[in-house]
Amino acid sequence: MALQTQPGTRPGRGTAPGTAVVPRARTNTFSALLHRHPRLRLAGLLTAPAGWLVLVYVAALAALLITALWTVDTFTGKVTQSWTLANVVQVVTDPVYQIITLRTLWIALAVTVIDMVIALPISFFIAKVATERWQKLLVVAVLMPLWASYLVKAYAWRNVLAEGGLLEWLGTPLGLHSPGYSETAVILTLSYIWLPYMILPIHAGFERVPDSLLEASGDLGAKPWTTMRLVMLPILVPSIIAGTIFTFSLSLGDYITAQIVGGTTQMLGTVVYANVGAANNLPFASAVSLIPIAIVMIYLFVVRRTGALENL
């Protein structure tokens, strides 16, 4: 996730770590052993986290994918280990699931674009225009909603969008109408909820653009717009993509917001949830979940080369 702090802060304050008293050479043999053998050091560093990821997560995912090839005994509702492609075939060929997949993709893309359009100017303002005092306040202001519960925010939007709710109440004099509980409502609400996750990496990205570079560009005669397009944007691309990974994949798997403000809207998450809870059909739910897994994997693969994964 975003929000890398800039290394170091006020110059001239605090003590440099190097000034701490370093003990004389010790006869700690284990430490010495580690020092002499970098591979051993690597093994020490890597074993715990990589083991954790593989044993907990990769194993769980692999088991889930295999389950997609099994079926459920319709009488007892328990998983039977007879191999079949029926679930996967149905998910891929049934037009219902194609429509739901396209709708989910559309929602995730729309949310991502909306958040990007909102996050860019506000992050720029915070990082490059606002005075130092305001900067701090604004960062806090943007971060705070992150701590209000996801559910409460979704419910708040339910109230905002209700017939006769806040939006109509404020909007009617201006000729605005609430979209009601619909796909549009889902897009709006998700954009709202995930916005901070887009602002954070983009803001961090702007922070990394040196002011001197912008000044140089200006001195050489570039208009602000040109500077933005040719100097700033290329530096920002990885941060923007990092933000999109969050908004895109968080939206892609959502089903709770769809339930709260979606009216009749179904997303992929809705289908997975319905099949895993309802009917207890884990194999079919696994087959459906292959779709978002595939989409996210493809997306990660495409953006991998931009270096965005290092900016999350």
Binding site: L65, T74, Y181, I260, A278
Partner: protein, 394 residues
Amino acid sequence: MGPKKSLKVAGALAVAALALSACGTSGGGTSGGGNAVAKTSIGDGEGQVSILAWPGYVEDGSNDPKVNWVKPFEEQTGCKVSFKPFGTSDEAVTLMRTGQYDVISASGDASLRLIAGGDVQPVNVGLLKNYADVYPFLKDKAWNTVDGKNYGMPHGWGANVLMYRTDKVSPAPTSWSSVFTDAGKNAGKVTAYDSPIYIADAALYLMKHKPELGIKNPYALDKDQLAAAVSLLKDQRKNVGEYWNDVVKSVQSFASGGTVIGTTWQVGANIAKADGAKVETVLPEEGATGWSDTWMIGAKTKNPNCSYKWLDYIASPKANAQVAEYFGESPANPLACALTEDKNHCATYHSGDASYADKIWYWTTPVATCLDGRKDTTCTDYSEWTKAWTEIKG
């Protein structure tokens, strides 16, 4: 990482996972509850019992200090209660399958799945002294009794009634046709329950209006009958503003006017009226679907004595009155009617009204063996209903 290497890694992992899961999953053998034997006596409590139930069925004062019927139970029996609520019958079944719970309050659309899966055990109702008082029309029913064996203590029941805004819908509806064939009159303002089990509501409507389909039981639909129900629901979908899955949500929409007509529970109507919404409910002429809950005991429970004690306790007049009133449904024990705070509670919920209860088709899990006794065809089961529901919502 080259694609070949990653494939190799993935392959190795897959094999490992396969080996792991092979030892974990049961090989599909059915350990049905059919051969299990009910207890013959209740011994001393084991000290604890874990309960899986609808929200509002097991209140220990943590939500509202004044609402607490767990404490008296703990004091009487020494069985400490831990409680997990669930939102839908489907979630309930999934959770119960984990084998972590001793007792569950199962609606009819969950109970048969649990019995078939061998997740619950037969209950010797002779050991439960409050069982004798329970309304006779709740005993020995398809959703709590299989092959003559009782599987639990009846709890509360209620109907999925039709609610409408008195100021927006006129004339007052008397038939479910107002949400099906005539739904266009309130286009975009109709609501429906968001669960595959709602297909039964459409089937019930077709049962009365399209006799040529030959539907005898809305939970026993063959392929053609299911298709007819699905197409009715797809037509309805065009006029639906919102599917609801929790009562408060549907009440909000009724109160704001986003919804003007649709199915709800009596408790929803009560909340809406208490908040001043102009709504009324009706049990339409076709009858209605509804729920009748049963307290059941897990097949692998380590606390059978405390479980029996809970089943008996929760049907006792005082506790039954508290639960029924808090949740908003009819109690199972008629003696509870005298102990509710609102003396009209049982009248409001038509508790002892057997003719009202007769018009209700209680939620039952659709299974392949037709519940209406047909032998010449197979019926659609719940997993097919689930997929059909996805298709209806589109």
